[in-house]
């Protein structure tokens, strides 16, 4: 039976990967993900986990080794952050295009510069187009539960795609908190042995990764697009099966206290947890406000999102990254894409918060709520804005 214990989230996540009986871990240490691969390395070294730990010379090599290992039919796990994810960039496309099942944990951290090891979402949000399934966890329990879920999604014969599991660096990865860890036996009842649909085999040789000439590249990209969109149904089914077995249900889009809410906050990752504390206080005071967030980011669950925010008049969207000189934050961009042209679409107030480890306190939500409330009361929708910035986003030099 699962035991509830106080443990650092990174350690629990590494143990969950171990309980999934991964065959190969190829990884390079980078803050704030280091404890995950460190712990896996010691599990292997101490004989608790029968796996190949490949201490590679860079993240580029890590992802390349993972591609080889997944191609050979091994259950493959890796973890990275920030610059490490960026260094993997070109290989990420290949892992998805070759339809290689594997799971990568990303402890989200800001990209340099200035050099910064703390949390925001600039690493994952700049990797939106790589063709991986991407999920977000908000706390240690979710992060730990999602490890076997991600392996099962990735290896599902209908899916066969790499899966990225995101959670916030430090504020989740380094937190010691109560976690009910599933045992190896429990995970075994949920995650069957990896039976690759296609694997490198010297007795039945074939070529993975041949050139795709202009006459076939478009079709190859369409096949990838279809594969990731079609993964939605299996993902929902696997979430439900996990819930039926272990009592913790996950959904592509999660809602918190949105009943009758005129203003809904949209955000991702661990700040949602802090925001829930704030929403509870608001609700106690009679203010109708709730939270909607994406658990599943790729494929983008647009229909679930539309349902979740139906009835809201204003959405306050909190991004942890933005495109300089571009159209604001990625979550806001994608929500606007989702809602454009729908009847009675809510107005959107978009802000960027919590960059490079800047704490987002409950009072910060008060400030954002005021902006949303003004729009609700008829004020014009303000432009996208970096909040928490000294000098003001639209301040003069």
């Amino acid at each position: 039976m699962s035991v509830r214990r106080g443990v650092e989230v990174s350690i629990a996540v590494a143990e969950a990967a171990g309980f999934c009986d991964v065959d190969v871990v190829a990884a390079y240490p980078i803050t704030p993900q280091t404890h995950i691969v460190e712990h896996l390395a010691s599990l292997v070294a101490d004989g608790h986990l029968d796996a190949e730990f490949v201490p590679v010379e860079s993240e580029h090599a890590a992802m390349s080794a993972c591609c080889g290992s997944a191609a050979a039919g091994a259950r493959t796990f890796t973890a990275t952050s920030s610059q490490g994810l960026a260094l993997m960039h070109e290989v990420l496309f290949i892992a998805a295009a070759l339809r290689l099942p594997m799971v990568m944990v990303v402890a989200n951290r800001a990209l340099s510069g200035p050099i910064n090891i703390w949390n925001d979402h600039s690493d994952i949000m700049t990797e939106r187009d790589v063709g991986w399934i991407a999920l977000f966890a908000e706390n240690g329990q979710e992060a730990t539960d999602l490890v076997p879920i991600c392996h099962r999604i990735s290896e599902d014969p209908r899916v066969q795609l790499p899966v990225m599991l995101n959670f916030d660096g430090f504020i989740v990865s380094h937190m010691i908190e109560p976690i009910e860890q599933l045992s190896k036996e429990e995970i075994k009842t949920f995650l069957p042995d990896f039976a690759p649909v296609q694997r490198l085999d010297i007795d039945n040789p074939f070529t993975m990764g041949p050139v795709g000439m202009p006459n076939v590249y478009t079709e190859a990209k369409m096949a990838g697009e279809h594969a990731i969109r079609a993964s939605y149904e299996p993902i929902v089914e696997i979430f439900k099966d996990f819930g039926d077995k272990f009592g913790r249900y996950y959904n592509p889009v999660e809602s918190y206290r949105t009943d009758g809410a005129d203003i809904i906050f949209v955000m991702m990752g661990a700040i949602t947890e802090t925001a829930m504390t704030w929403v509870d206080a608001q609700r106690d005071a009679g203010t109708k406000v709730g939270i909607v967030r994406f658990r599943l980011w790729r494929p983008l669950p647009a229909d679930d999102f539309k349902k979740a925010v139906a009835g809201a008049k204003v959405l306050a969207i909190l991004d942890r990254h933005f495109s300089p000189g571009g159209p604001g934050g990625p979550v806001a961009q994608e929500v606007k894409y989702t809602l454009y042209g729908t009847d009675n679409a809510p107005k959107i107030v978009e802000v960027v918060v919590g960059l490079g480890g800047r704490d987002v306190f409950p009072e910060d939500f008060d400030d954002i709520y005021k902006r949303a409330e003004a729009v609700l009361n008829g004020a014009p929708v303000p432009p996208f804005e970096l909040t928490q910035v000294r000098g003001g986003h639209y301040g003069k030099i």
Partner: protein
């Protein structure tokens, strides 16, 4: 990628665009690329077979008399055999119309 059709629909592609059958390079007739062909001066050939080893297309074979023989369907005229030949008995001759 399926070789049955050079223009498959996306639904017809194999998983991850893999080439699922071995030996597909046979269908790439690299001989079309050739503007010069290797020609042997047989009296100088010592039948060492070094040309068969270095040929990047693997299209030179030793025949029944143990002399090298090139398969012009695949010889792309790269002249690596000329550079590697110990006795210098191979020369490149221009392809005629």
């Amino acid at each position: 990628m399926s070789r049955q059709s050079p223009t498959p629909k996306w639904q017809e592609l194999s998983l991850g665009c893999a080439t699922t059958e071995p030996g597909s390079s046979r269908y790439q007739q690299t001989g079309d690329w050739r503007s010069e062909r290797p020609t042997w001066k047989w009296e100088n050939c010592i039948k060492c077979a070094v040309c068969t080893v270095f040929c990047p297309e693997g299209c030179i074979h030793m025949n029944a008399d143990n002399y090298p023989q090139v398969d012009l369907t695949y010889c792309k005229g790269c002249a690596i055999c000329v550079a590697e030949c110990w006795t210098g008995c191979i020369t490149m001759e221009e392809e005629k119309e």
